[in-house]
Structures are given as C-alpha cells and as structure tokens.
C-alpha cells in the first residue's frame, strides 16, 4: 500500500504518530549525528590523549593515509565484512529453513545455534584461540588421531589470520541470523506455499522463488545487523588475535580504538572513524534508498 493507513485527519490524530516518534528522532539526531559532527571536528584537531579543539587542518588525514597499518585494517575489513556477512547469511538462512522442516528437537537445536551470542567474547575468544591454535587445538587433535599431514595454522599465519576471525564471527552471529529468518519464515502465509506446491514447485524451489523473496524485509534487517556487527567487530578481533600476528588481522575498529585510547592519538582515531563512516555512507545510503523506495510498494 502506498498510502498510510490513515493520514491527515484531526490535528491530534495527525500529529500523534509524529509526536511519538519525535523523541527517538531527536535522540538519534543528537546522539548519532551530533556525535558524528563532533567527531568530524576532532579529526581536524591535534587532539592527543584528550580532546582538544584547536584547528589543525588535514594533518590527521595525511598521517592516516601514510599509515600502513590503517590500510591493512581497511583491507581486512573488506575481507572480513564480505565473508562474514555472506557466510552468516547463507548459514543462518540454511539453518532456519532446515529447522522449519518440523525437526525433532527443534527447541534444543535452536538454542545450540543461538547460544554463542549469549556468551561474552572476552572468554569465548580464549576458547577459540585454543581450538584454532595449531599446537593445542584442532591440528594437534588431528595429529593425535593419526592424521599427521593435517595442518590448520591460520591463526598464526599472517596471510590467513583474518579468516580465523571470520570463523569465530560466523560462529557467534549466524545463530542470531537463523533466529531472524526463522521468525520471518513463521510469519509467512502458508496458503501461498500451498499454491506453489500445486504449481509444481519442489521444496527447494518454493523456498528459493517464493519464500525467500517474501523475506526481503528480513534480509534487510539481517544485512543491517550483520554490517553493524562486522564494523564493530572489536571484541572478536581483540580476543582472538588482538590484531596479530603483527597487525595482520587489524580492523578499523581496533585501529581506531588503539589510536584514540591506547596511543593517545585521538585526532587520528577520529579521522579514521570519519573515513569509515564516509565509506559506509557511500555503500549503505544507496542501499537504504532503494530498499525503502521499494518497500513503499511492497
């Protein structure tokens, strides 16, 4: 429906929704956009351990662009973000669909898939670190079982370490993605599924052609949430690799944090945050635009 269910009537009815929405909107304006501006300003200052409001021009950006570690972080975010989002999405959807097949023990399995979100990564990170560590975890175990040639040393390999972050990230988030999709699946009117069955579609095709497209709003939510997790993947990286070996698995969030809080380079931290936001805006705003324009007719 392109029309609001009811629009401009008595002035109160007309204003009520806007009025109710207003606090959230104001909070967003102040606490998101206000802070972005604040941060933007900081990125043009020489701030060190505390904010400082002297104007310093583009110096922080110059330093940032010269910083090798920053570029590694950006590249890693690209790898991590796309893999993490893609795999979580695929796995989450698959699990949701499978769980929707009236599985025995659905409740138990669902909880198993969900629990990683429940545990703080401060410590589950340690467990992962052990499991992925060649000398302690999987590789060691395989060797003990007699598979001497088995190697799995991504954690300690500069080129592969970012992928271990993907593994742990997927582990942590795909269960929630599953929950989102499952809730969506259970909201679908099953008469259209029936119609598709009669139309001769096999189960996989029903999902692929009818149900999954109907989940479009859920995809939107999931994508947003995963992107949000990917960008904020701070705990994950810190607990698993601390950005290492070297800074090979650094991501912008950890970069920003160490600059702004550990190394007393708030100005550069702010500049990196602005760069990140700008990149994101370039990616996300068009998506938001198309998605919301579509939903009007949905």
């Amino acid at each position: 429906m392109s029309q609001p269910a009811a629009a401009n009537y008595g002035s109160f009815d007309k204003w009520l929704p806007k009025l109710v929405l207003a606090p959230s909107f104001v909070l967003t304006l102040v606490f998101v956009y206000g802070f972005i501006i604040w941060n933007g300003y900081l990125s043009f200052t020489p701030s060190r351990i505390l904010p400082n409001y002297e104007w310093a021009g583009l110096i922080q950006y110059e330093r940032l662009f010269e910083n090798e570690r920053w570029w590694v972080a950006v590249k890693n975010l690209g790898i991590f973000g796309s893999l993490f989002m893609g795999v979580s999405m695929a796995l989450g959807l698959l699990l949701a669909i499978f769980l929707d097949q009236k599985i025995r023990m659905e409740g138990a399995l669902r909880t198993i898939y969900l629990y990683p979100m429940a545990l703080s990564f401060i410590v589950t990170g340690t467990a992962w670190k052990w499991i992925l560590n060649p000398g302690l975890g999987l590789e060691h175990l395989m060797h003990q079982w007699g598979f001497e040639n088995f190697t799995f040393d991504w954690l300690v390999n500069t080129d592969m370490s970012i992928y271990t972050v993907v593994i742990a990230g997927v582990w942590q988030s795909s269960g929630f993605v599953m929950a989102l999709f499952l809730a969506g699946l259970r909201g679908i009117d099953d008469s259209i599924i029936k119609a598709a069955q009669v139309d001769g579609a096999s189960l996989p095709r029903i999902y692929w052609r009818i149900i999954v497209p109907c989940l479009r709003p859920v995809f939107f939510s999931t994508l947003m949430i995963l992107a949000h997790l990917a960008i904020k993947s701070f705990d994950l990286v810190m607990a698993l690799t601390s950005g290492g070996p070297g800074f090979s698995s650094d991501v912008p969030a950890t970069f920003m944090y160490s600059m702004a809080f550990t190394r007393g380079q708030i100005g550069m931290g702010a500049a990196s945050a602005m760069m990140m936001l700008a990149t994101l805006a370039a990616l996300v705003v068009p998506y938001l635009y198309s998605e919301l324009r579509n939903s009007k007719h949905g």
Binding site: A195, Q197, D199, G298
Partner: protein, 377 residues
C-alpha cells in the same frame, strides 16, 4: 491443451478428514470419469474447500483413498499430482507481479520461454487482465486478484483442475463471460474439473455432475437437471434453486378427481390436485401431514401460462411482500401460515396487501416426509 490418456478420472473412497477432534468430512465417496466436470455445492463450511485440499494433496486424509487416473495418490506429493488449482483465498505470490504469478507454474514445469509468453498473452486476454501484467497483487482489486488466480491455473495444462469459487468476486457480466470461457475450455481440452461454486447458474450450466454436500456428507450426486427436478431430500431441494423451493406443510386429501394437498392462503382454502404418479405414491399418506415442495417459478401469474396445462390450478392469494428483480417480480404470499415465494411477470405484479390470482403448476411438485425429510414422491 490436450491430454492423451485418461489420466483425469477421479475416485474418492470413504474419505474422512478431521481437524483436531472435529470431523469435517465424514466419509465421502465420489467417482467421475476423465473429462467430466464435477460441481461441488453445499452450505458454507460444509467441507468443500477441505475436499479440494485433500484431492490436491495439500491436506492429508484422516482415512480413505483418493485415486487420480489409476494411481492411488494418497502418498503422492501435490506437485506430482498434475493438478492446477484456484484457491478461494487467491494465494497469489505477493513478491511477484501478475505476469510472474502466471508464469511460475509453467517455469516449474520447464515450459520454453517463448511458449510461456504466448500462453500468458492468451490467458491474460481471456481474463481481461492484459493491462495489469506488471502490477503486484497488492495493487489489484478483489476481482482482479481472483482473475489472476484463475490465470495461474489456466496457464497450465494439468490432468485435473480444481477451482474453489473462482468467479465469486466478479461482476455478473464478466462472470457470464468467464463461465462461458470455462465451458469452452472444458469442451476443447476435456480436462477433468472439480469446481466449487455457490452460483446456481454456474452449477447448473457447467456441471456434468453435481455433488451436493452438507456437514461433510454427500447428500446427492447426479446430473444437474436431475438434481433440480428430482431432489433426494428436503435439504437438496431447498439448497438447489434460487429463490429456494417453497415447502408447505399440508395434509393429503382425497378429492373427487384423485388425491390433493390442502392449502390455505389469506383465510381461503383450496386443494391442489396431484399428478397421477404422485397421487399413486401418496395414497397411503391420505389424511396425514406431508411437506409439499413447489418452486417459485411454478407459482406464477395467470397471464403468461400454458392455458391448457392440466396440472395448473388457479387460486386467489393475498400479496405480502413484493421484490422486483428485473426480469421477474418475486411475490411473497402466505401458504398454510408460511411465507411462499412466487415468480411473477413484472407487468402482472400487484402491490403488497392486494389480492392476486396465481397459477400453481403441480406438474413438478415434490413431496417429503415431514419427520425424515426424505422424498416420498
């Protein structure tokens, strides 16, 4: 759209269906040949849609067997039953536009793209939805949605069509056109059809066979005219025909000429003589109460009648209510204390309160046992 072998014959054996504890279908037996057109009618909630659900395989029978052609299909998946269905609730795919909705079933069956286009064009033309092909279901009116649902089924070439009130949201004109189209289609393709409808005309004109259901039980199964003329019981008699048959509780009496039923209207009494065959059957009922059924079109004005019809009795009655429907005026009178409808030509119609000479044509009157409601003559 032609089928080689007789895949479409449908046989339903002792089928039962319950939801939770409630029995919805209580032992249905039906059998039609390939190429026949079966109409399901019955009051709302009697289980028609449920029966279609079972035939399509979307619902599971609680017990009993369903045969399509020579296969027992109880354990065959819906998609392998070679069925096309129009759902009462349309069930359009909300994510697809009209064209994609129609194409989907063909795609699933790997119909070549060019052929799809051609079929879509033909179906859309027939259903007059060409200008809607790019719309999403949410942008359609009720009748337009229903036509798309219809189009989805018609685009296929199945062994069996299931239609659940496919024309209920269409206007009369379009409905007549669609009805004719369906009839043509059926005559051309000879595909077996099971068709649920509430429309008397659809039921009478489309069906080879009609099954009248009530509360999950089939009351009568037969040809349309046969059911109309020879209803098996009061329920069928009352259900088929619109306006309904008038049921008048009266007493069977012996008259000079033979046997008749006594009727009283507006303080005047008269006896309607029975035709010979009925009189013979009712000889044992003389003096007893009986329900006598007469359709509205069998009580008419006295002008436009076959004056020499021996079964016609004229009587003077008081008009209570008058309902002009266009071609006819429904005139309500009181017979034996109960309201009865008569179909009168508008030119003859009187106004409420006036008296009117009416002709009772007893040649098709039917008689029921008041307690069992079964037909006795």
């Amino acid at each position: 759209m032609h089928k080689e072998n007789e895949v479409g014959a449908l046989k339903i054996k002792h089928v039962r269906k319950s939801y939770g504890g409630t029995d919805i279908l209580k032992g249905i037996d039906l059998e039609i040949d390939a190429g026949q057109f079966l109409i399901l009618v019955g009051p709302s909630g009697c289980g028609k849609s449920t029966l279609l659900g079972l035939i399509s395989g979307l619902e599971q029978t609680t017990s009993g067997e369903i045969w399509i052609g020579d296969r027992m299909v109880n354990n065959v998946a819906p998609k392998d039953r070679d069925i096309a269905m129009v759902f009462q609730s349309y069930a359009l795919y909300p994510n697809m536009n009209v064209k994609q909705n129609i194409a989907f079933g063909m795609e699933m069956r790997n119909v070549p793209k060019a052929e799809q286009e051609q079929i879509i064009a033909r179906v859309a033309k027939m259903l007059q939805i060409e200008h809607l092909l790019d719309r999403k279901p949410s942008q359609l009116s009720g009748g337009q949605r229903q036509r798309v649902a219809m189009g989805r089924a018609l685009a296929r070439n199945p062994g069996l069509f299931l239609f659940d009130e496919p024309l209920s949201n269409l206007d009369a004109k379009l409905r007549v056109e669609m009805r004719t189209e369906i009839k043509r289609l059926h005559e051309r393709t000879k595909t077996t059809v099971v068709y649920v409808t509430h429309d008397q005309i659809e039921a009478m004109t489309l069906g080879d066979r009609i099954a009248v259901m009530k509360d999950g039980i089939i009351q009568q199964f037969g040809g349309p005219q046969d059911i109309y003329d020879n209803p098996a019981n009061m329920f069928v008699a009352g259900f088929i025909g619109s306006p309904s048959m008038n049921f008048i509780l009266s007493t069977v009496e012996k008259t000079q000429e033979g046997v008749g039923v006594k009727v009283e209207s507006g303080n005047k009494q008269f006896v309607l003589p029975l035709r010979a065959d009925a009189a013979a059957k009712l000889s044992s009922w003389v003096g007893k109460e009986i329900v006598f059924g007469i359709r509205p079109e069998q009580i008419t004005g006295t002008v436009n009648i076959q004056q020499d019809n021996p079964h016609i009795t004229k009587a003077d009655c008081k008009v209570e209510i008058v309902e002009p429907t266009g071609p006819d005026t429904l005139t309500f009178i009181n017979l034996n204390g109960k309201e009865a409808v008569c179909r009168v030509h508008p030119s003859e119609a009187k106004r409420p309160g006036e008296r009117m000479q009416l002709a009772f044509d007893m040649s098709k009157a039917v008689f029921f046992d008041p307690s069992s409601e079964a037909r006795v003559a």
